[in-house]
């Protein structure tokens, strides 16, 4: 294992993955499993499945965990830096340029015409989450949870954090009971 390989593997998959962290996964699989053989397919699959059971961005969880497994603490830091820093720099640079011209009418118009495109992307993402909920829970439970949480968050104004925390607690109670009683 060489740190330059770790860097390149995560740099390439970060810079070529359009569509956020989840889009990076197949590219990462190519690097980690097929190119460098740091893990086999099963290990990689298990890692994906488990990181999905945890909150937070998937790309950085994978970079950190895989980096740690193949190169210890330095591996973790190298993999994280490679997957995060280049794209953040790009973002700061491009938006900085845009900010300087933001009072020019045609630049203002540009920032307005992009809003409906974002709406479509978010709409598609919404539908993906609805479909995933339906596949995992069935229409009945999925719709019940969607309607109830829409009511609690948007009508009553409960913070999403509280709702999510309560749901996790309810799901985990039987699990904790079983593990503790063992």
């Amino acid at each position: 294992m060489r740190y330059s390989n770790v860097f390149m593997a995560f740099f390439r998959s970060g810079m070529l993955g359009f569509g956020g962290g989840p889009a990076v996964i197949p590219l990462l699989q190519k690097e980690v499993v097929e190119k460098y053989h740091w893990m086999n397919d099963d290990e990689f699959g298990d890692t994906i499945a488990l990181s999905n059971t945890m909150p937070g961005p998937i790309a950085t969880k994978l970079a950190g965990y895989i980096g740690y497994r193949i190169g210890g603490l330095w591996g973790l830091l190298v993999a994280l830096a490679a997957s995060v820093i280049p794209t953040v720099l790009l973002m700061v640079l491009l938006l900085g340029i845009l900010q300087n011209y933001k009072d020019v009418p045609w630049v203002q118009n540009m920032s307005q015409t992009v809003v409906p495109v974002v709406a479509v992307m978010l709409g598609v993402l919404t539908w993906n989450f609805v479909r995933q909920s339906q596949k995992a829970l069935g229409w009945g439970v999925a719709i019940f949870l969607i309607v109830t949480s829409a009511f609690l968050m948007e009508v009553i104004g409960i913070h999403p954090a509280i709702l999510i925390a309560v749901l996790i607690a309810v799901v985990l109670v039987p699990f904790i009971k079983r593990v503790v009683s063992k």
Partner: protein, 176 residues
């Protein structure tokens, strides 16, 4: 204290966003727009659009950029740290236990029951963007651009970066 606020603004979405970075975006918006008032919905939309047009994980691009705007280089570091560290530490710490219980129904259920909540959050965010666009561009342009970009993104599978570039060019040309 700005750094503490930046830490909290990204810590909460990071620790509650089930379904990867995109799932944490509406939670980030809640903090950045509604709680701390660092930007308007429109500005958040612009940053998100550009972020979507660039490669790489979206949550860290947002955290790095917003952290940088509010607190300079150290702000960017704080934003990135609070986005990445909590869930990563959790993962490293729990991996051994989780591997043991990875087939347990309850562990799998966590992300299942959280997904409908995320769907609602992103759904309402979509609605917000549509209303925003309707106010600034009017109904006809909003519907036309949405229909066209849906067609290109989902039916013709045009690259998102290309669709966003086209929308920007259209905006620039019609704005002259």
């Amino acid at each position: 204290m700005i750094y503490w606020q930046i830490f909290l603004a990204f810590f909460i979405p990071g620790i509650l966003g089930y379904g990867g970075g995109p799932a944490s975006i509406p939670l980030v918006e809640e903090e950045v727009v509604n709680r701390y008032g660092w930007m308007s919905t429109q500005e958040f939309g612009e940053v998100l659009a550009l972020g979507n047009a660039l490669p790489g994980p979206i949550a860290t691009k947002m955290a790095g950029y917003i952290g940088y705007m509010e607190g300079g280089l150290f702000g960017a570091f704080v934003g990135l740290f609070s986005t990445i560290a909590p869930s990563l530490i959790l993962m490293l710490g729990l991996m051994a236990i989780l591997f043991k219980y990875k087939d347990s129904a309850e562990v799998k259920n966590i992300s299942k029951v959280v997904k409908p909540v995320i769907a609602v959050l992103i759904g309402f965010m979509t609605l917000q963007f549509i209303i925003e666009s309707q106010t600034s561009l009017g109904s006809i342009q909003t519907i036309a651009i949405m229909a066209l970009s849906y067609l290109m993104l989902e039916r013709l599978k045009v690259h998102p970066a290309a669709v966003i570039a086209l929308a920007l060019i259209y905006g620039a040309v019609t704005g002259i």
